[in-house]
Structure formats: structure tokens, C-alpha cells
């Protein structure tokens, strides 16, 4: 993929550009990356190569630079990658519980098996068709861990959907073997990876390998086949060379870099390229690529085919330093995670909140986008994580339909504990003055670190006002400095009466105790015909 070309393109543009910070349509609310394009070629990723490249190589651009696809408020515009949801526009409990689901799952009655999968360690049906003609992939729990992977998959889709990502519709289903009917042209991939015609024995053998409920039914997750044409996964670096809409190198996309906090929170250690999917969709007369996160069977305490490995979230699959240390010390030295004791909940697997440190959390391999995460990216992701209340977390966890209520409560408490740790760390790395808005002659704000109880309220907040020359990127002090103990500043008269098109900036700081990081938030406002508009927010890192 052409990650280098993407960076070169951007550098070229930057070099040619004279400095004008704000353009007339800033801040952009929606990116137009759904422009009509020719169909890209399906590109299936090599799982091995993906792992080797990311574990032993250093793909993508690793120079620290601010995310490229954000608007001037530091937020992610709506796009084919991302939709602002719960963190920006509160969703109701019903909406959170419904998540991406637009229906009720496979219709009752017989399901026609069209494609089976008996290869590898995760048997399942790659495609079944219900009586409505809707198609689903059917995935099972591993034997010994009934409900674990299926609940994780469903809970994961609800959370990531509410966070703003495109995800598949996942439904928990219960069925009996006689509910499955063999499709006329059903095929199965067997162990050598060959496809052959499927027969009833295949169904029987496949079901023999998966967990069963006490009443003899099978529990599975039915993942609705995504709309559109599968064109392969996206990588966490570079851009697709055959998608003209894909111009921001993925390692510099805020919604991918900012995944660190959500992934750490939910222990989505399998946040690898192979668990993403680009779909070519046709909407409103346009053909474009939509980018999805898929397959959440390996999050929380589930490792999909078994419980999460104890290493998961604490160590990459390959870390030479610790590996050689273990060799030299004959295994008598190791990291703390090896001593963690997990309660035995087979339907949950291995997850805990006491040893969890969000800043030290790691996925399976060094993910280029996550590695590029700057405090502002992680802060953006943390804001999303902390937007879930205890009750909302509980309701979403309930969608996993865990029959062991003690296990369910344990998972809820884990996620609450982990969420609080995410907040405590990342909301304190930069100035968390946020949710700024102009109300009449006042600039209102909220200090998220204080609001979420992870920092003491400061003695005061100060705002220093400056005139801003947008054409030349130059600031001139107005000699107006305000200090408040509340949550709003009075907008100076000069700003209120300025000519349309004039810019000002307020540099807001915490004063004294509370904040570990006394860095400023720069708020840019533009006088417009209708009033004062906030057009830019920058956070010192």
C-alpha cells in the first residue's frame, strides 16, 4: 500500500501552502470521502505478513505529527470511517442496546447452510441464509467456554458502534441442529483449505466440535453479512492505492490513533488489520468504500478460541527484550501479569481491572496507528470511553446474554474500573477543558478531568485573550486576562463588537492545584454575522 505516497502528497501540499490557519468552511463537520469512485480490487491480506511486518518491521510514518483528518476543533468529521455518536450526541439506553442492529437477527425457521468452515481451530458456518433471504456468518463459543466469545462479539459491536465506528450487526442466536438445512450448492472449506460440496455429515461433525447448552441447543453469534462488496481489510498505516477517497495515511487518522483508549478499555488486543474490512457500497447514487471494524470475539476476557491469554493486553506476541530476559534468567524473572489471578468465570474468560494500566496496555502486535497516538489522540479516545455511564455499561453488557449473573456483574465492575483508569490517566495528560460553547456573551466550558472525578478542581481557571491574524498566523495580546472559579468566561467587548471575519483566541489554563499538567487550551473564535463562533481548539501537549 502506498503509505509513503500519502505522506509525500501531504508534505508537498504543506510546503506549497502559505499559512492561513482557518479556512471559510472550518470547522468541517463531514468529510466528503464518500465520493463516487471506480470499484477497487479486492485485496486479501496475508495474516502472516501482517504479523511479521508489524512485529519485526516499522511500517508507516512514525514521525510525531498531529492527526491529519481532524477538523480545526480537534474532532473527527463524519466520514466513511467514522460517525460521531455517543460521546458527542448522547444516545439513549435503547439506542445503545440496539447498537448497529437494524433488525432482530435471523428469522425463525430453517436456515439454509451455504458455506461451512471446518478448517483451522474455529469451526463455523461462513454463510447461512434465513427465510427472509438475509445472510449471516455463524460463529460459536469454544467448548468449555459457552457464552464467552459470542457475548464478547455482541458486546463489542455495541460499544464500538456507540463509539462511532462501522461494525457489523451481531445477534446471539440459539438453535437446534434440525433447524439447519443444507443448501443445494453448499460448500465447505476442509482442512487443506480446499472447497468441496458440503453434506449433512459435515454439519453434524462441525456441530460436534462446538459448545452446546444444557438443553441441547447451540448458541452462536449470527453476524449479518455486511452490505456491499468485500474489498479486503484496511491496514493501520498507509492508504489504499486504489481508493481516491482514502487520502489520509491511516496511522495519522485520529479515529484510528485514538483507538488506543477504547481498545485498552475493552481489551481489544486483536486490533489487527485482519480484523477490519473495507466494503464497497452504493449509496445515494455513489459508489465508495466504507471501513469497518469486525470480529470482536477476541475482546474482553475472550480469546475467541479459548480464554484470553494472560499476556493479552500486557505484552506483544513478540518482544525481544523480555524474551531474552526470560531465556537468561531461566524464566525466574517475568512481568507482573504472570502473577495475576483471575476469577474463574468460563463465560467471561480472563479480564481484570486491578492490574490494568491503560498507558501500558498493548495489542497483539505494535499497531502503527496506536503507536502514533499522541496525548491528544488518546485524550480524544478517552473522552469517548468516559462517556459511558455505569448504567450504560451494564445495559450493553447485558446484551451479551450471560446466564451467570455473577459473571456478568464481574464484567460490568471490571469495565467500570478500567474506564475510570482510562479517565484518570488520559484526562490528566493534557488540559481537559472541553465542551466549549458560546452562550450570549460568555464562553462556557467543562473540565472533564474534574467532571469525571479524576482531578481536583483547580483554584481557578485563567483565560488570556489575544487578537488573531488568520492570514499571517500572528497573535497580538489584548491585555485582557480573566480568572474564574466557575465554568465560563466573559467574552471581551472587543470580541463581541468586532467586524465579521475577525479572529480572537483565548488561552485557558488551570491555576494551582488539581491539574498535573498546567498546559493551555487555545480556543479560537471568529466573529460572524450571526455572532461569535468557535472555529478552533488546540491543546498543548
Amino acid at each position: 500500500m502506498c503509505f509513503k505516497r500519502g505522506i509525500v502528497l501531504w508534505l508537498l501540499v504543506a510546503a506549497l501552502a502559505p499559512g492561513q490557519k482557518f479556512l471559510p468552511d472550518d470547522p468541517v463537520g463531514r468529510d466528503q470521502d464518500d465520493r463516487n469512485i471506480p470499484a477497487p480490487k479486492r485485496y486479501k491480506l496475508s495474516d502472516y505478513y501482517d504479523f511479521i511486518q508489524n512485529s519485526f518491521g516499522n511500517p508507516g510514518d512514525r514521525k510525531p505529527r498531529t492527526a491529519m483528518n481532524i477538523n480545526t476543533l480537534g474532532e473527527v468529521p463524519e466520514s466513511a470511517w467514522y460517525t460521531n455518536r455517543h460521546a458527542r450526541k448522547r444516545m439513549t439506553i435503547e439506542e445503545l442496546v440496539r447498537g448497529p442492529d437494524r433488525g432482530t437477527g435471523p428469522a425463525p425457521g430453517t436456515w439454509k447452510v451455504l458455506r461451512g468452515k471446518n478448517e483451522g481451530i474455529t469451526p463455523g458456518f461462513s454463510m447461512v441464509e434465513d427465510s427472509r433471504g438475509d445472510r449471516y456468518a455463524i460463529k460459536f463459543d469454544p467448548p468449555g467456554n459457552l457464552e464467552m466469545a459470542t457475548s464478547a462479539d455482541v458486546i463489542g459491536t455495541k460499544f464500538f458502534y456507540a463509539m462511532g465506528y462501522y461494525v457489523p450487526e451481531n445477534y446471539i442466536v440459539y438453535f437446534r441442529a434440525d433447524q439447519l438445512e443444507l443448501g443445494e450448492d453448499a460448500v465447505i472449506s476442509d482442512t487443506p483449505g480446499r472447497q468441496r460440496k458440503m453434506d449433512h455429515r459435515d454439519i453434524h461433525e462441525l456441530l460436534n466440535r462446538v459448545a452446546k447448552t444444557a438443553d441441547g441447543r447451540y448458541r452462536a453469534v449470527a453476524s449479518k453479512i455486511l452490505a456491499g462488496q468485500d474489498v479486503g481489510p484496511f491496514r493501520y498505516y498507509g492508504t489504499r492505492p486504489d481508493d481516491p477517497n482514502d487520502i489520509f495515511p491511516h496511522e495519522h487518522r485520529r479515529e484510528l490513533r485514538g483507538l488506543w483508549a477504547p481498545c485498552a478499555w475493552l481489551n481489544h488486543d486483536d486490533s489487527r488489520a485482519v480484523n477490519t474490512l473495507d466494503m464497497l457500497v452504493n449509496e445515494n447514487g455513489k459508489q465508495f468504500v466504507r471501513h469497518h471494524l469486525i470480529d470482536f470475539g477476541s475482546i474482553l476476557g475472550s480469546g475467541s478460541v479459548s480464554e484470553q491469554k494472560p499476556r493479552a493486553g500486557y505484552e506483544y506476541l513478540w518482544e525481544p527484550g523480555i524474551a531474552f530476559t526470560r531465556i537468561l534468567t531461566l524464566g525466574f524473572y517475568d512481568r507482573h501479569w504472570i502473577h495475576i489471578r483471575y476469577p474463574v468465570y468460563p463465560s467471561i474468560g480472563r479480564i481484570e481491572g486491578d492490574y490494568f494500566r491503560p498507558e501500558n496496555w498493548k495489542p497483539e502486535y505494535p499497531n502503527p496507528a496506536l503507536l502514533n497516538s499522541l496525548p491528544e489522540d488518546a485524550y480524544w479516545g478517552a473522552k469517548i470511553v468516559v462517556s459511558f455511564t455505569d448504567e450504560e455499561i451494564r445495559k450493553i453488557v447485558e446484551t451479551g446474554q450471560l446466564s451467570d449473573k455473577r459473571a456478568e456483574e464481574y464484567l460490568v465492575q471490571c469495565l467500570i474500573k478500567r474506564r475510570d483508569k482510562v479517565a484518570r490517566y488520559w484526562l490528566n495528560q493534557i488540559n481537559a477543558v472541553d465542551r466549549l460553547e458560546v452562550q450570549g456573551d460568555r464562553l462556557r466550558f467543562e473540565d472533564l478531568a474534574v467532571q469525571y472525578g479524576v482531578a481536583k478542581p483547580p483554584a481557578a481557571y485563567t483565560a488570556e485573550w489575544l487578537r488573531y491574524d488568520n492570514a499571517n498566523d500572528r497573535k497580538t495580546p489584548m491585555k485582557v486576562t480573566q480568572e474564574v472559579t466557575g465554568s465560563s468566561f466573559e467574552i471581551p467587548a472587543e470580541v463581541l463588537t468586532a467586524r465579521p471575519g475577525q479572529y480572537y483566541t483565548a488561552q485557558i489554563r488551570r491555576k494551582d492545584g488539581g491539574a498535573k499538567i498546567p498546559k493551555a487550551v487555545h480556543v479560537y473564535v471568529r466573529r460572524e454575522a450571526g455572532g461569535i463562533k468557535i472555529v478552533g481548539i488546540e491543546r498543548e501537549e
Binding site: 500500500m1 502528497l9 501531504w10 501540499v13 504543506a14 501552502a17 502559505p18 499559512g19 492561513q20 490557519k21 482557518f22 479556512l23 471559510p24 468552511d25 472550518d26 468541517v28 466528503q32 470521502d33 465520493r35 463516487n36 469512485i37 471506480p38 477497487p40 496475508s46 495474516d47 502472516y48 505478513y49 511479521i52 505529527r65 498531529t66 492527526a67 491529519m68 480545526t72 480537534g74 478448517e119 481451530i121 482442512t191 487443506p192 483449505g193 455429515r201 460436534n208 489504499r240 492505492p241 486504489d242 481516491p244 477517497n245 482514502d246 445515494n284 491469554k309 506476541l317 518482544e319 524474551a323 526470560r326 524464566g331 504472570i338 495475576i340 491528544e376 487555545h522 488546540e538 501537549e541
Partner: protein, 411 residues
């Protein structure tokens, strides 16, 4: 403070030309969206299909096209097989043929032919019915012909000496049927019966004397005449290891008893009782394992009967007493203990410190922990998903240091 690079970008020439597409509001002239869209137009002129090259292409072909699996699966059931002969045979290759789910899905058939660099040969045919009664009953019939021309023999008993190493040809044909039941995937119990026809002859490894040149039928039973045997036996197994290919917890206990009857002269009839216990004790989240194995093989003969030397249990080598040569000790009875401390270096590699102790003995009255031979060492186990792919063990004993490179785990 870091400022987003796009904040210092300005409209590119051409951006103004952009108009929104169907369903879009046209971007504001000179605006951010116009700028981004101009980049899209620029990229649209350079679109190219993604292409796999070099390592990526190779790995894609191997993995996604299941080349390894297909190579192993072969064509029409035929594929290339390797290994499967005795230690010391040299590289062994040959065709394997396998057909599964024949006769309504009940029957599996397998045949293989092996030849090695040192002219070891093996021909085997197996027909099995592993899925009877909803996989609770299994039936298996196996025919094997072996011709191993350089089998090692150091003499019988614990006092045998390494410098007495000889070699002999072992040629046998075995017909063996097994039938049993499985219960809850943990218990297996069954019976077996068959016929074994054996010949021995001069060894072909010219570096060592042929066995019959150094040993005599008096101290090496059945050296001069090899009877045919019938075999009847029974076995029971309780196996609850988590991953049989690389266990970290659970246990595996096997008890087996067999009667080997001399079909020719009634001189070499004997009963053999074998017990093997494996236990795996995990700690530190199963990243450390204490693995223990105890194994014994006891042979019982009636007065006037003895055990052919080539049917006696052997001790030494990569599978039990590391630090000694393979098949270093041989006698009517055997006991061996292995203790390993295993630790995970990373998911692809485990290491182990091990200690082995064992002995062979003639009389069952010597069944004690006295006079055990010992070995110790360190091992490297390269793992695949659920099993050990390659094992490198370095063992040391009173007879020196030995390196073993083996496929699969030790126990």
C-alpha cells in the same frame, strides 16, 4: 505545542474546480473540503491496484492458498510424508495415501511407504472406523512391514557398555487389530490382538560390528531364531491433558497388558505390563509448568520362556534418558522418570530444564529406585498453535553430552 499540519495548508490550484457530487453540497470555495477533495482528485489520477510483492506475496500464497496444507494433503489422497522411522534411520521420505470418510463416512484408510538414507524401509496400511456409535466406539486394523538394517544394540542389562555398540537388521511384519470405546473424550478402554512375524539379520552399518559377531544367543535371546508371535491385550487410558501436543495442565494415565505368544517353539512367550503416568502442574497463569512422567514396562515369563532381545523395552535417547544414546539400554524391564520445569519465553518458544532417571533390569525384584542412571539438561521447544513443532534438547550424563533435534514434544 503541536499544531495540525492541515491548519497551515491552503487551497491547492485545482481545488476550486471541484464541485460536489450527487448528494453532496458543493464545498465552499477556498475551504477545507475543497482542499481535501483536490487531493482526492489528484490521487484519482494515480490510482493503481494494490499488488503483493516479495515476502508478502510468498506468505500470502503459503497461508491463504493453504499451500502447506495442500502439500500435506497431496493429490487424490496422496502426499509426501516424512519421518516415522526409528532414530538413526537418517532422513526418511515417501508417499502417504489417505482417504477419510469412506463407506458412508465411517471408514478412514491410510497407507504409507518410507525409505531413508540408511535404507530403512517401512510399508504400512491402516483401515480405521473412528466414528462408530457417534464417535464412542472405534475400530482399527493395521498392517506394517519394517526393514530396519542398522538397529542399535549395546547388549542387555544395565551394565552394557557404550563401546560394545553393534547393529542388526530388524525385519518384521505386524497385523494388529484394536477395538475400544471412548467415554466423555477422556476415557478410552479397549482390546487388541494380532500377529507379529520377525526376522533379524546382520546390520549394515560398517562403523560398528554386526550384533551376531559380538553377542551370542545365550546372552541375547532369539538372536539365532526369531519366532512369530501372536499378541492379545487390553488397555485403558484416562487422558485429560489440555493440549496433547503441548500439555500445560492435566494428566495422561495409561495401563496396558499384552500377552505375546510364541507361535513356533513355545520358547518365547511372555506377558508385558506397561504403566505410564504423566502429570502437568501449571503455575503463574500456566506460563510455567512442572511436567512429570513415570513409566514402567515389566515383562513376565513362565519358566523356560524368555523374551526376544528385539522385543525388549529400550532406554536412552531423546524420548526418555537424554544424555545417553538412543536405545542405549535394553532389558526385560524398564522404569524411567522425567521431571521438567518448563517456562514460556514467548508464545512461539518454551524452554525447559529437565532431569531424567531410569534403568533397565532383568528381574522384577530389581524394581526399585536403586542404581538409576541419570541425565539432565536444557531444552528448547518451538511451538505452533497447539503443539510443539520442533524440539531441541541438550542432555548430559556420565556418558557425555547429547544433542537431540526432534519433531514433536517429549511428553
Amino acid at each position: 505545542m503541536q499544531i495540525a499540519p492541515q491548519l497551515c495548508l491552503v487551497l491547492l490550484a485545482g481545488g476550486l474546480r471541484l464541485a460536489g457530487q450527487a448528494g453532496d453540497e458543493p464545498p465552499v470555495a477556498g475551504g477545507r473540503l475543497a482542499q481535501w477533495n483536490s487531493l482526492r482528485e489528484k490521487k484519482a489520477q494515480q490510482v493503481e491496484a494494490p499488488e503483493r510483492k516479495g515476502l508478502e506475496k510468498a506468505l500470502y500464497e503459503v497461508r491463504e492458498r493453504h499451500l502447506m496444507e495442500r502439500l500435506m494433503a497431496g493429490w487424490q489422497g496422496f502426499h509426501l510424508g516424512y519421518g516415522g522411522l526409528h532414530v538413526g534411520s537418517g532422513l526418511a521420505l515417501g508417499p502417504d495415501w489417505r482417504q477419510e470418510r469412506l463407506a458412508g463416512g465411517l471408514v478412514d484408510m491410510r497407507a504409507s511407504l518410507r525409505g531413508s538414507l540408511r535404507k530403512y524401509e517401512k510399508l504400512e496400511f491402516q483401515i480405521g472406523m473412528p466414528r462408530l456409535r457417534n464417535e464412542h466406539v472405534f475400530l482399527d486394523f493395521n498392517v506394517a512391514y519394517r526393514n530396519y538394517p542398522q538397529e542399535r544394540f549395546f547388549g542387555l542389562g544395565p551394565q552394557s557398555r557404550p563401546e560394545d555398540r553393534t547393529n542388526f537388521r530388524l525385519e518384521d511384519t505386524t497385523y494388529l487389530g484394536t477395538m475400544g470405546i471412548k467415554w466423555k473424550r477422556v476415557f478410552r478402554v479397549g482390546v487388541k490382538g494380532g500377529i507379529i512375524a520377525t526376522n533379524t539379520g546382520p546390520g549394515t552399518d560398517t562403523r560398528y560390528a554386526s550384533t551376531e559377531k559380538v553377542f551370542t544367543p545365550r546372552n541375547t535371546p532369539a538372536l539365532d531364531f526369531q519366532p512369530d508371535h501372536y499378541q492379545v491385550g487390553t488397555f485403558a487410558q484416562m487422558d485429560w491433558r489440555d493440549e496433547p501436543g503441548n500439555p500445560r495442565s492435566g494428566g495422561n494415565y495409561v495401563v496396558e497388558g499384552n500377552l505375546f505368544g510364541d507361535r513356533n517353539r513355545s520358547l518365547y512367550t511372555f506377558r508385558r505390563y506397561e504403566v505410564e503416568a504423566q502429570q502437568y502442574v501449571p503455575f503463574f497463569n500456566r506460563r510455567r509448568v512442572i511436567a512429570f512422567r513415570a513409566k514402567t514396562s515389566l515383562t513376565d515369563t513362565s519358566p523356560g520362556q524368555s523374551v526376544p532381545f528385539y522385543m525388549m523395552p529400550t532406554l536412552g535417547g531423546s524420548e526418555d534418558l537424554r544424555g545417553f544414546r538412543d536405545y542405549r539400554f535394553r532389558d526385560k524391564n524398564l522404569m524411567v522418570y522425567n521431571l521438567e520445569y518448563r517456562w514460556e519465553v514467548f508464545s512461539g518458544l518454551d524452554m525447559a530444564l529437565f532431569g531424567d532417571a531410569g534403568k533397565v533390569f532383568t528381574s522384577r525384584s530389581d524394581f526399585s529406585l536403586d542404581h538409576l542412571e541419570g541425565a539432565y539438561g536444557i531444552g528448547f521447544r518451538f511451538n505452533q498453535a497447539k503443539s510443539v513443532l520442533l524440539r531441541v534438547d541438550i542432555g548430559r550424563s556420565r556418558e557425555g553430552m547429547r544433542f537431540f533435534f526432534k519433531f514433536g514434544h517429549v511428553f
